[in-house]
């Protein structure tokens, strides 16, 4: 019953989203506030209807209603409750429903927002409605999440969710990722609305800022969770493989980062207006492309899911329609946009512009590398794959310069900066970076100059971000009381920026260190035998069985001792056998220290030459790997802190907003 109600609600959502487009567009054209208001109401109703459908799916999963195909294929009565719920978005159909839920949710929040001027809001609500109609239509007609199975085929027990996906980080990964991905839809809609109005100005840049910040921060968390899951669950010892599916989530993030910075220029100086609007369209276009790449399976990926070319084609059509229309509108309207304020080569806006060029180029090289197999196959049918070395080299070559100039950016003044003055303020940071490089060369390895440069770069960015904050609060130059007062008076946006910039430095430090000095080893051990890795000694002690809620496992005990002979930990890697689905999954054991991980994976039992048993033990030593995940979390935290800045809600926004609201005709 609830299932049919849910199906009905989803069909209703499609009708409502079409009504949302029609009412808002009519309201905009006739300048009729009542019609536009009805469009906003429709946006909220669409969300409510999709939420009802989503609730029905969750209900079906929690009650293990195997008459619903999605549940039968992806759930199991013995599964823990968390994974029953997470199973709702583990399948293709469920994840599209989650996508629609978040898309309409953002639409409803935008419709409820009182800050946007009449014309812009009506166009944006209509655009958001059109996106909603496309995706809800796809869901209703091609990917029904609540489809029933015929009564006779109904199974007694479900197929279960892939055991690799039964993990807390991965349960939370899709909601965060989608909240980020789809958050850019609002920016997309506002960009389209601004292009229709022919007006991209500082006030508009300020309106898109909270949406960009929210989407960017959530996407950062989502990508980090996914990477963290791949690190500790998949047993390969790495955290990023430049897999097409990873790239699909990373490209919107890169362009979103560029957008955050270019919107700041548009907001403060009115410059880069059409570029910002283009990025606003581009970020969500890449999000949609990510959905297409992941869900169509056109690219070989270690994460590829069961594929369905027909649906892939439909997603491609949606991508083509939405992005094509927006880009055509851009091509038509962008030349008419007024781009005020030229800027000098040494200024805050020039540094942000450089950031944008580098990030856009980085997005482009990732895009080329990701799509090249498709392009090549289309040209001469040769199947190829592009490996991680391509991405490591091109991406690093473009992002390293961005990191080098990063500390200078926030210290430069708008309009005309004072470069010698800025460099003077950064000499401490430069000394720290140099010290870090020398210390790395002296203490870790005198030969790996490239890694030392990476460590120096990370230290430079962290120290530079802190130097900028110290400069603002006049640390060491004013009495402590004043420093405290200044620190408290500093807007949260400024602290957010410092935190995010320090975060990227922390990440770079970790990535450089782990990349250069990670070690791996694999050996077949019988009981009592040892292997050595990075100075640590691993000894296989014993093996035993254990029973989880829906799996059986063989668990090994591996004694890990430090170079000085003391015990680091008793690692307990497992091999889990899931009865439902019959899959075997390796359970990784990680012995964490403050910054480093000893990462142990067990292989299956094999007969040894002497008649006993051996186990293939693989181990990875990942120094400073903690920083790789801590950095992005700092960045997301910085983004969220910025988002909570009161200035975003009042000040310029309300002033300009009220002025606009009084004369809706002027918003044309």
């Amino acid at each position: 019953m609830i299932d049919e109600l849910g199906q009905f609600a989803l069909a209703l959502a499609l009708v409502l989203s079409i009504a949302q487009v029609a009412l808002s567009a009519a309201g905009r054209l006739r300048r009729d506030a009542a019609l536009a208001g009805a469009g906003e109401g429709a946006a909220m109703a669409t969300f409510a209807a999709v939420a009802l459908g989503f609730f029905a799916l969750i209900h079906a999963f929690v009650t293990s209603d195997f008459s619903v195909m999605n549940v039968a294929e992806n759930s199991h009565t013995a599964k823990p409750l968390l994974y029953k719920i997470a199973g709702a978005w583990g399948s293709h159909e469920g994840s599209i429903l989650l996508w629609c839920l978040i898309l309409t949710g953002y639409g409803a929040v935008m419709a409820a927002s009182r800050r946007l001027p009449f014309g812009l809001k009506a166009s944006a609500v209509a655009t958001q409605g059109a996106l909603g109609a496309l995706f809800i239509g796809y869901m209703v007609f091609a990917s029904d999440p609540l489809q029933r199975i015929g009564l006779l085929q109904m199974p007694v027990e479900g197929n279960s969710l892939n055991p690799l996906l039964q993990d807390p980080a991965l349960a939370a990964h899709p909601p965060f990722l989608y909240a980020g991905y789809v958050g850019f839809s609002v920016v997309f809609s506002l960009s389209v609305a601004a292009l229709i109005a022919g007006r991209v100005d500082p006030a508009w840049a300020r309106w898109i800022r909270p949406w960009t910040l929210a989407a960017w921060s959530l996407l950062t968390i989502g990508i980090t969770l996914g990477s963290f899951w791949a690190y500790y669950e998949l047993g390969w010892g790495g955290w990023w493989a430049w897999d097409p599916v990873e790239n699909a989530s990373f490209m919107p993030w890169l362009l979103g980062t560029a957008l955050l910075h270019s919107a700041a220029v548009t907001e403060k100086r009115g410059a880069l207006a059409s570029w910002t609007a283009l990025l606003g369209i581009g970020a969500f276009t890449l999000s949609m492309m990510g959905a297409f790449l992941v869900r169509s399976g056109v690219l070989t990926s270690v994460h590829a899911f069961a594929i369905d070319p027909k649906r892939g084609l439909l997603l491609l059509v949606i991508l083509g329609v939405a992005a094509g229309a927006a880009l055509a509108l851009y091509a038509w309207r962008a030349p008419t946009l007024k781009d005020e304020a030229a800027f000098t080569p040494i200024s805050r806006e020039a540094s942000l512009f450089l950031n944008n060029v580098l990030f856009a180029a980085a997005t482009a090289v990732v895009l080329i590398g990701t799509l090249l197999p498709l392009i090549r196959a289309a040209i001469d049918g040769t199947p190829i794959s592009v490996g991680p070395p391509y991405f490591n080299l091109t991406f690093t070559a473009l992002v390293a310069p961005a990191l080098i100039v990063l500390p200078a950016g926030p210290l430069l003044a708008w309009k005309r900066g004072d470069l010698p003055g800025v460099l003077q303020r950064l000499w401490v940071a430069a000394l720290i970076a140099l010290g870090a490089a020398i210390a790395t060369l002296a203490l870790v390895s005198p030969t790996n100059a490239l890694a030392a440069c990476g460590v120096a770069l990370g230290a430079w960015v962290i120290a530079g971000a802190l130097a900028e904050a110290a400069e603002r609060v006049k640390l060491f130059r004013a009495p402590w009381a004043e420093v405290g007062r200044r620190a408290a008076g500093l807007p949260r946006g400024a602290w957010g920026m410092t935190l995010a910039h320090a975060g990227i430095g922390v990440f770079a430090l970790g990535a450089a260190f782990q990349g250069a000095w990670r070690a791996e080893g694999a050996e077949a051990l019988s009981f009592g035998q040892t292997m050595h890795l990075a100075g640590y000694t691993l000894r296989l002690d014993q093996a035993g069985s254990l029973f989880g809620p829906n799996f059986e496992a063989e668990r090994l005990l591996v004694h890990v001792s430090r170079p000085d002979g003391t015990t680091l930990c008793e690692a307990a890697p497992e091999r889990r056998m899931y009865a439902a689905g019959g899959q075997v999954v390796s359970g990784v054991a990680i012995c964490p220290t403050l910054l480093d991980d000893m990462y142990v994976v067990s292989g299956e039992r094999r007969a040894a030459a002497n008649g006993g048993s051996t186990f293939l033990i693989r181990a990875y030593w990942n120094p400073w790997v903690r920083l790789i995940f801590a950095g992005p979390l700092l960045m997301a935290l910085g983004g969220l802190l910025s988002l909570s800045d009161r200035r975003l809600r009042f000040a310029l926004t309300s002033r300009v907003g009220i002025a606009r609201a009084r004369q809706p005709a002027a918003a044309k």
Binding site: T300, A306, A342, G387, P389, L398, A524, G603
Partner: protein, 159 residues
Amino acid sequence: MSLLPKSRTARRRLMTLAVAAPVLVLALAVAIYAMKGSISLFYTPSQALAAHVPPGQTIELGGLVRMGSLFKKPDGEIDFVVVDKTTASPVTYKGEVPDLFREGQGVVARGAFDTAGVFIATEIFAKHDEKYMPPELAAALKKQGEWRGDGAQAPAYAR
């Protein structure tokens, strides 16, 4: 200064170009340079034989794992044979095979042939889903008329 255009717009465009062009050229140059070493081609065993893939060149080898060919040595290495309709290639790999690796099913391995013609795999592609077949492999099998749909029983030559 006289070389610079007079109009403000033109100057701004020139400056934009001056910043953007070197970055784009750098990006392009690095991208082309990096591609040389990291593009690997996909072959099935018979395609690899026909193309005379030189030993040491990194490629991706795809096909079906012949039934009964999987041999796990005590030292942790595994041997198996990848076949297509006409040709078989022995493969060795040091490490644990992905959780969904099965005899009689499709597999894609990255690595290179040694001089004796044994394929030394450095990576075996894992899958999230037992129904999944890498698109290149599916296309190659279809071309040989050997495509039987997802999860079908292994053909005679792989048994």
